[in-house]
Structures are given as structure tokens and as C-alpha cells.
């Protein structure tokens, strides 16, 4: 901040009003939509109760946009979409047009500019991004890189409607999981307790809060070489990494031992069943930049099996629920291990307390 200038008090305007930026056809028909149709992958048609039609063309971006890209997208929106844009929560772009004739030219313009149209309905939409090595202070992997590498291989599923239902994939670059749960989630899983940099603890750590942060009470204050430091009970430690953000000397990230794990069946929608948590299916996957081929291969194997075996409208969790987990492991060829048996609080509810068995 420039030393001379008098500090400027902020205007606490908070969350801005949305209507000022909304396409006029949306504003006019706010709360007045009748139904929608899906003319082709990447295109939605919404019809209002008064007969107003709008077409949405959905396109993937790299989420983190350089100003050139922003201006390029703005130019497209000006040319074909009345100068309005919106982003979905998966960082996809939506261009709105009220004139059907503009739909195909818009798609062409988007595609020509290097963006991908798709991601609607029963496709694999864009993976959720998080910060990763690019910005976060605790990442075990990169997120933008994982998304880019995986979507390069899943692009055919983004631009088509081959999936039984929507597929929402998430990534997270540490075990904290800012990316959230998904039909498939690719998450970091540490496999060794943190190495403690004892020299740093005394300077940078509020020791009581680190101790309190550990979910399994594995951390104790300790004197090391006469200086206050910390000690980890390695038999208790579940390698979650929760101690790392408040105390960077708890070095949990490890080029070798921070692995990836894949979880499936997270579903937040209420459609049909109640929302469900995701479950572990694969772990020990190498964290292998720049293209993470091992993780992608497993994701593709799961998607292929899902595509072939699930019924229309079955999300991944519902499909597995119907065919049973033993069959899931059989069909995907993934190993079932003792680690698949939950042992966290409430784990009992995950045990099969019945004679319901498929043979």
C-alpha cells in the first residue's frame, strides 16, 4: 500500500445484485420458465410460460483464465450472445441466445476458438478444479493439471450423451478435499505420518492448536533437543494431513508417499434416493505428473463399466447399489482389501448385517 495515501475505507457492498448482469430474456422471465429440452449435446432449450425460448450453449474452459482468453470469450459473447455470459459452478461457460439461428454459428465460434461445447445432461461434465501446486500452501498434487489430463481423455464423454446419467467428477489436491464429493472423486491420500521439521516448530507453530486439530489425538507436545516441539504417535496417526495447514513443519507431503485414491458414489441430489457419501474404491495410485496416467486409467475403467452396465437415470451410486459392491469390484477388476472396510465412527452401519448376498 502506498505510504502517502490516506487509507481508503472499503465500501461494504457485499454480494452484488445479479439482475444487472443477467441476460434480459432471463430477467424478464425470471421465475416463469415452463420446461426445457435438450436439442443436442451442449445445448439447452428453455421455454417460458409465455413462450419465450432461450438456447444455452455450454462450453468448457480451463477455469483459470488469462486476460486474453477473457477477451476472446467476451468477443464471442458480443457477437452471438447479446454480450452476456454466465459460469456454472463447474467453471463451464454458458452463452444465452434468443434466436435459434445463432446457435450453430455460436457453437462454431466457440469451437474455433479452442473451447469445447458439451457437458449437458448425461455427459461427463468438467471435473471440479482446486488450487494445487499453483497456489495452495498444502497441496499434495496439482488440480488444474489433473483436470486437463483427464478431460483430454474424457472429452468424448463431455461432447456426447453416452452416460446413463450425469457424471460429476471432482478432484482435490490434498486430503482436505476442497473439491468435494462426486460420482467419482480423485483425491490425495497420504500414506505416511508427517515428518516433523523440529527446527521450525518452535517458531511457526501454535502448538496447542495443532494438537487440537488432529482427529485422532496423535500429536503430543514434546521437547526435542531441548526445544519445544511436537511428537506424533505413528501407530495412531491416520496420515490425514490436518496438522499441516496450522503447522507447516508437520511435513505430510511426500513425493513418493502422497498417493491418489479414487472414491465413487457421492451424490448430493435428492433425485430418487437421498444424498449419499462417496466410498473408497482404489488407493495407492501414483501421484504422477504431468499426466497422471494411472489415475485416468482407473477413472476410464469405472466409466466404461458404468456406461455398459447401468440403466438410464442411474447415477453411479444407484447402479452399484443395484448390482452390489462385490459385482462392482468384479466388473472393474479393482482389488478389494481390508482398507475398504470402514473403521471410522459410525462404521458399523456400513457392515452387511443381513443375509442379503448376491452369488
Amino acid at each position: 500500500m502506498s505510504e502517502a495515501a490516506a487509507p481508503r475505507p472499503p465500501i461494504e457492498s457485499g454480494c452484488p445484485e445479479g439482475f444487472q448482469y443477467m441476460h434480459p430474456a432471463m430477467r424478464r422471465n425470471y421465475g416463469n420458465w415452463a420446461y426445457h429440452e435438450d436439442p443436442q449435446p451442449g445445448v439447452l432449450l428453455h421455454v417460458s410460460k409465455d413462450g419465450q425460448k432461450i438456447w444455452t450453449v455450454k462450453a468448457a474452459t480451463q477455469r483459470i483464465l488469462d486476460v486474453f482468453t477473457i477477451r476472446k470469450l467476451c468477443a464471442i459473447a458480443d457477437d452471438y450472445a447479446d454480450g452476456y455470459l454466465r459460469f456454472t459452478l463447474r467453471s463451464n461457460l454458458e452463452f444465452i441466445v434468443t434466436d435459434e439461428a445463432k446457435v450453430q454459428p455460436l457453437i462454431k465460434a466457440i469451437t474455433d476458438a479452442g473451447f469445447i461445447v458439451g457437458g449437458t445432461r448425461n455427459s461427463v461434465t468438467t471435473l471440479s478444479h482446486t488450487q494445487g501446486w499453483l497456489h495452495c500452501d498444502i497441496p499434495g498434487t496439482d488440480a488444474s493439471g489433473v483436470v486437463k489430463s483427464m478431460m483430454d481423455e474424457l472429452i468424448g464423454e463431455f461432447t456426447s450423451w453416452n452416460m446413463p446419467n450425469r457424471v460429476h467428477i471432482t478432484t482435490s489436491c490434498c486430503q482436505i478435499n476442497c473439491g468435494g464429493q462426486g460420482d467419482i472423486a480423485i483425491n490425495v491420500q497420504h500414506t505416511k505420518p508427517p515428518k516433523i521439521n523440529h527446527d521450525l516448530v518452535a517458531n511457526v507453530c501454535e502448538r496447542p492448536s495443532v494438537v487440537a486439530r488432529c482427529p485422532v489425538a496423535a500429536i503430543r507436545p514434546a521437547l526435542v533437543n531441548g526445544k519445544p516441539s511436537l511428537e506424533v504417535d505413528e501407530r495412531k496417526c491416520i496420515c490425514c494431513g490436518a496438522c499441516f495447514p496450522p503447522c507447516p513443519p508437520m511435513q505430510i507431503n511426500d513425493a513418493e508417499h502422497s498417493k491418489l485414491a479414487i472414491w465413487v458414489g457421492g451424490n448430493h441430489s435428492n433425485a430418487r434416493g437421498k444424498p449419499t457419501f462417496q466410498k473408497l474404491v482404489a488407493a495407492g495410485i501414483p501421484n504422477n505428473p504431468p499426466r497422471w496416467p494411472e489415475a485416468t486409467a482407473i477413472v476410464k475403467r469405472i466409466l466404461k463399466t458404468y456406461k455398459e452396465d447401468a440403466k438410464d437415470w442411474e447415477r453411479i451410486n444407484e447402479w452399484i447399489e443395484r448390482i452390489g459392491w462385490p459385482r462392482f469390484f468384479e466388473l472393474t477388476g479393482l482389488p478389494f482389501t481390508k482398507f475398504h472396510i470402514d473403521n471410522w465412527r459410525g462404521a458399523r452401519a456400513s457392515l452387511n448385517s443381513s443375509a442379503h448376498i448376491r452369488f
Binding site: A283, T337, S350
Partner: protein
């Protein structure tokens, strides 16, 4: 004998059409030829009336057993024996019935005769754990009565921290759903542990219950530590003609609403030519369709049992259902039965060593985790043991590769046969 105690409250339990236990007590009090039994019944009625009036129980425990055994008697001493002398010692002998509770009238009469000699004249068929309860003997007569019936083939059941009396359903003796030989399983398991029944030395009680099919008429999954439930592995048998019969008598709509849509995995369909199509790979052997149409549907031929461990009621961590430890076990050859017994021994031994005092097997599993239990008894993990894989990422998995390898090796071995 003393005056009859007034029993105005109990008398009300003689009203109404349901058979009255009070009338039975009174019959003993009023009609029995033996004075001893008449006064025991009178005294018992008196104390019970007192309980009804004060809404409290007046029995206390103690230590009574027969020579050579440490269990099988539930001792009861009256806390109000001043008033109710004749029934002041009122112990119960828990006697093991045959699996399925079969009796000839001759044997029943013989048992009644012996009991009349030494006990109160009241017998309970049966206690909730399945014992015949000879209820109401004094300390001396528990031994004499036991000696007499033990001579003609009856033995005590469990009580205290020991293997308890088992139970099994009518099963193969009369039920078309039965997939296993309940008689044999029951006796093989139970009698392998006779010593553990009679000499309490375990952390707590341990119960076997056997149900011939997943209808689980013995409530085994919630009321026993070791639950054996019959099932089958191949396709169910469908008699399409009999199915058409149901279609005719019950009607299509009824069968759709009551069978097709009730299948938990949507594994059933009625095809256009009115045959029943069963998706056997997705059938979870719930029994529902077989229950509704027993003439048309029956279990397959490749039969065996699912074994669930750890069921029990509330104390002290909340009710537990047993959980699948063995998804399928053949029970045909002698080796099959030997390995069943071995498995039960592994379970009981591991629990005996690792259970805390008064901790049921299921509570121990809850405390140490299923995986540690499986390792303790030498059973491999299997996805049939879970409703779903883990939801929590809080686990250390550095041995993942080795564990994955184990799975692939097992699968390769299975494939090789």
C-alpha cells in the same frame, strides 16, 4: 397348609379368553395331591400378588449348581421369605431341548413326573434362549431332579459367562424353505462346546442360533453371537406351471404389486408369455418371492449357509445385528462340518482371549474393528461383508499394494480352482 393368600389383582388375570398362567398356579395350589406343591404354589401366588401390589420384584440371586457343573441353574431366594416361606428357594433349571423343540407325549409325561417329585410342578416351554425352564426347586432338589433326568438323556443348558443353549428352526423337519440340516448343525456346534456350556469361563455369554433360510425364524441375526442362516448359491428353482397357477388365482396386478415391485433388487419380471424371469445374479436371497409363491419357487440345489457374527441386544453399546463373516459355506460333508466347528472355535478362542469382562463378541468386534477380528480368526476380507466400502478417508493405507496383491492372488487361485 397355611391359609390361601388373597390374590385380588392376580385373580383379574383369570378373566378373559387367553389361557391363564394364574389358573395353572391355582390348580396346583388347589388340586395337587402333594402338600409340598400346594403350599409352594400358594406361597408363590402370595409373593407375586405382593409384587403386583407394590410393583416390585422380590427375588435375589445367589450361587447354586449341580455337582461338576458351574452353570445351568438360575438361583432365586426370596427377599420376603418371612411372608412366603414355602417358595423361599425357587431356582430354575435350564435344560436343553432337542433342536426344534420336538417331544413325544411319553417323554413330556416322564419329565413332568420327575419334576413333580422334586420341583414346583411348573415348567416353561421355553425360555427365550430356548431352554426348557424347570422353574421352582429348592437347592437340594436341583441336584436330585437333575440326576434323575440326566440319567434319561437330558442335560443342563448355559447361564452366566459361557456358551448358551442354542436354537434352531423347525426347518428341514417341516419347511420347504430349509436349505440346511438344522438338526445336525445345531448339535454339532452346540455339543462341541459342552464343556463351555457347563463351566463358565468366557468373557460373557455366547449364543448359537440356526435358521434354515433367510426368513430367520429364530431371530438369529439379532439374538445370537453366531448366527447360521441357510441360503443357496445357484439359481432358484422355478416351476413355471405353478407360477401360471398363481397368475390365475391371484391375478396379474396382485403379483406385480406384491411380488415384482417388492423384490429389493428388481430381479423379477413377468414376461409377455407369462413366465417369470428371475435375474439370479441380482437376487439377494431375501425369500420374499419364495414366501408368496412357495409352490412355484424354491431355493436352488447348491445350498449352504451364511454366517453372521456378533448379534445381541442393548447392553452396553446399543443393539447389534450380526454381520456377515462367511458369505457362503457348504455344509454337506464331514469336512464341511469340521471346518464349521473349527471356525466357531477360532471365534470363541479369539474372543475369550481378547474380550473384556462382560463384553460380548459383537462388542469386541465393534471395539477392535472388523478387520482385526477377521485377522484374529484367519478369515479373508470379502466385499459381501459390507453394505459399502469405507466413507471415511481417515485411514492409513501404506500397505495398499501388498493388500491388493493378496486379493489378486486369491482371485487367481479361485480361478485356477
Amino acid at each position: 397348609m397355611a391359609e390361601h393368600f388373597d390374590t385380588p389383582m392376580l385373580d383379574e388375570l383369570e378373566n378373559g379368553p387367553w389361557p391363564s398362567f394364574i389358573s395353572g398356579f391355582k390348580r396346583l395350589r388347589d388340586e395337587h395331591p402333594e402338600e409340598r406343591i400346594r403350599s409352594v404354589a400358594n406361597s408363590l401366588l402370595g409373593q407375586l400378588e405382593h409384587s403386583y401390589e407394590t410393583r416390585k420384584g422380590y427375588w435375589k440371586g445367589g450361587t447354586v449348581s449341580v455337582f461338576g457343573y458351574g452353570a445351568g441353574i438360575i438361583p432365586r431366594f426370596s427377599e420376603v421369605d418371612d411372608a412366603f416361606q414355602a417358595s423361599k428357594e425357587f431356582h430354575t433349571l435350564r435344560v436343553q431341548p432337542p433342536p426344534g423343540n420336538y417331544y413325544t407325549t411319553d417323554m413330556l409325561r416322564q419329565l413332568a413326573d420327575s419334576w413333580e417329585k422334586y420341583g414346583s410342578g411348573l415348567i416353561t416351554f421355553h425360555g427365550q434362549t430356548g431352554n426348557i425352564m424347570f422353574i421352582g426347586a429348592d437347592t437340594e432338589n436341583t441336584q436330585t431332579f437333575f440326576d434323575e433326568i440326566n440319567d434319561y438323556g437330558w442335560d443342563l443348558g448355559g447361564a452366566g459367562p459361557d456358551v448358551r443353549t442354542g436354537m434352531s428352526c423347525v426347518g428341514a423337519a417341516r419347511c420347504e424353505q430349509s436349505c440346511i440340516d438344522e438338526q445336525k448343525i445345531h448339535r454339532t456346534l452346540q455339543n462341541n462346546f459342552t464343556d463351555d456350556v457347563h463351566r463358565p469361563a468366557l468373557p460373557y455369554k455366547f449364543k448359537f442360533k440356526i435358521s434354515g433360510c433367510p426368513n430367520d425364524c429364530q431371530n438369529s441375526i439379532e439374538r445370537s453371537d453366531f448366527s447360521v442362516i441357510g441360503t443357496w448359491r445357484d439359481d432358484m428353482k422355478v416351476d413355471q406351471e405353478a407360477f401360471k397357477g398363481y397368475l390365475q388365482t391371484k391375478g396379474r396386478q396382485y403379483l406385480i404389486d406384491n411380488v415384482i415391485t417388492r423384490c429389493p433388487t428388481n430381479a423379477l419380471a413377468i414376461t409377455d408369455d407369462d413366465t417369470l424371469a428371475v435375474d439370479n445374479r441380482n437376487c439377494v436371497r431375501c425369500m420374499h418371492c419364495l414366501n408368496v409363491m412357495p409352490k412355484a419357487l424354491s431355493p436352488g440345489d447348491d445350498r449352504g449357509a451364511t454366517i453372521c457374527i456378533g448379534g445381541k441386544r442393548t447392553l452396553k453399546i446399543g443393539d447389534l445385528m450380526g454381520t456377515v463373516i462367511v458369505p457362503f459355506k457348504k455344509l454337506e460333508t464331514e469336512e464341511d462340518f469340521e471346518s464349521l466347528v473349527e471356525m466357531a472355535e477360532e471365534v470363541i478362542d479369539f474372543w475369550a482371549e481378547n474380550g473384556l469382562e462382560h463384553e460380548r463378541c459383537g462388542e469386541m468386534i465393534e471395539r477392535i474393528g472388523l478387520v482385526n477380528f477377521l485377522e484374529g480368526i484367519g478369515v479373508d476380507v470379502d466385499p459381501n461383508m459390507v453394505n459399502n466400502p469405507r466413507q471415511s478417508s481417515y485411514v492409513r493405507m501404506d500397505e495398499w499394494d501388498a493388500e491388493a496383491e493378496k486379493w489378486f492372488e486369491r482371485k487367481a487361485e479361485e480361478a485356477a480352482g
